[in-house]
Subunit: 167 residues, 2 copies
């Protein structure tokens, strides 16, 4: 399975393409869409939508894993973050990807083992888990963490306990 994972924000959307085959997970690409402070909001949205669209075209993932936003500083921030998130979801939906959301606590729990992990801890664990030669920038690491959470969620084996009758 190949997925696109996204940690959206107007000025620094992290994203990654992850592939799982058998028990191994590979990161095919990770990046941060950095939008300069001088770029208009609509310019940022264009950049996010276009960059993610091109990544989808390159790698043809079938699913999107994206952060479910719970806490933000203000309503104004929420509206702007929502816009960044919206165009990311749109880019995926336009190419038929299914959309899966994970709240930050669950992502940290899945990757680091505790819901209150720091950004540095997440990046460090991502590097170790995927055997990367460098620590990814934190926005990209957050995206990878969201992707790993999704892969672990969908590939969790269902434990079937079969009772064997003793003779």
């Amino acid at each position: 399975m190949r997925i696109l994972a996204v940690d959206p924000s107007l000025r620094g959307t992290g994203f990654a393409i992850l592939e799982e085959s058998g028990k191994s997970t590979r990161c095919l690409e990770y990046s941060v869409i950095k939008n300069h402070a001088s770029l208009s909001q609509e310019g940022c949205l264009l950049a996010i939508h276009e960059t993610l669209g091109l990544a989808i075209k390159r790698h043809e993932p079938t699913e999107l894993a994206i952060e479910k936003v719970i806490f933000v500083q203000s309503y104004a921030t929420a509206i702007i973050l929502g816009a960044a998130r919206g165009v990311a979801v749109l880019a995926a939906a336009q190419r038929g990807l299914t959309v899966h959301e994970y709240p930050p606590k669950r992502v940290k729990q899945a990757v680091v083992g505790k819901g209150a992990a720091s950004k540095d801890q997440v990046a460090f664990m991502i590097r170790a888990l995927l055997g990367l030669t460098e620590t990814p920038p934190s926005d990209a690491a957050d995206a990878i963490a969201i992707g790993i959470t999704h892969l672990r969620t969908v590939s969790s084996p269902v434990h079937v306990v079969t009772a064997t009758r003793g003779k």
Copy 2:
């Protein structure tokens, strides 16, 4: 000047195409993009983006007037509303429209004359102002009101007072 005006929301985005020539303002089209409660969030975003894109293609407006969101019930609502707003802005930016925002109070002030006007008052005034034969649905009326606010803002003549010296 021809503009696209949008009052965004996930389930009921109102929009209108307005044209101003000389002192007259005409409404070339108004509509509400109604997304059923059973449609996924990504399905709604696709519908908003595609419908506005087609309206822009039909009428070729050069500017977008959109509500600047100030108050929302919750962060969750703000994120969702932000997404609807984001794909509307994207649809416009992809076709080169400039983006102009107006807070709701200013829109009501411009159209009804008071910042605390009800939705019904806005719809009634829109009908009267444009000489429409029916009262538009309130989401469309809100979009038209945003558009009228923009047209009045950009076409306000600058009053130049020239002092004439008396002999």
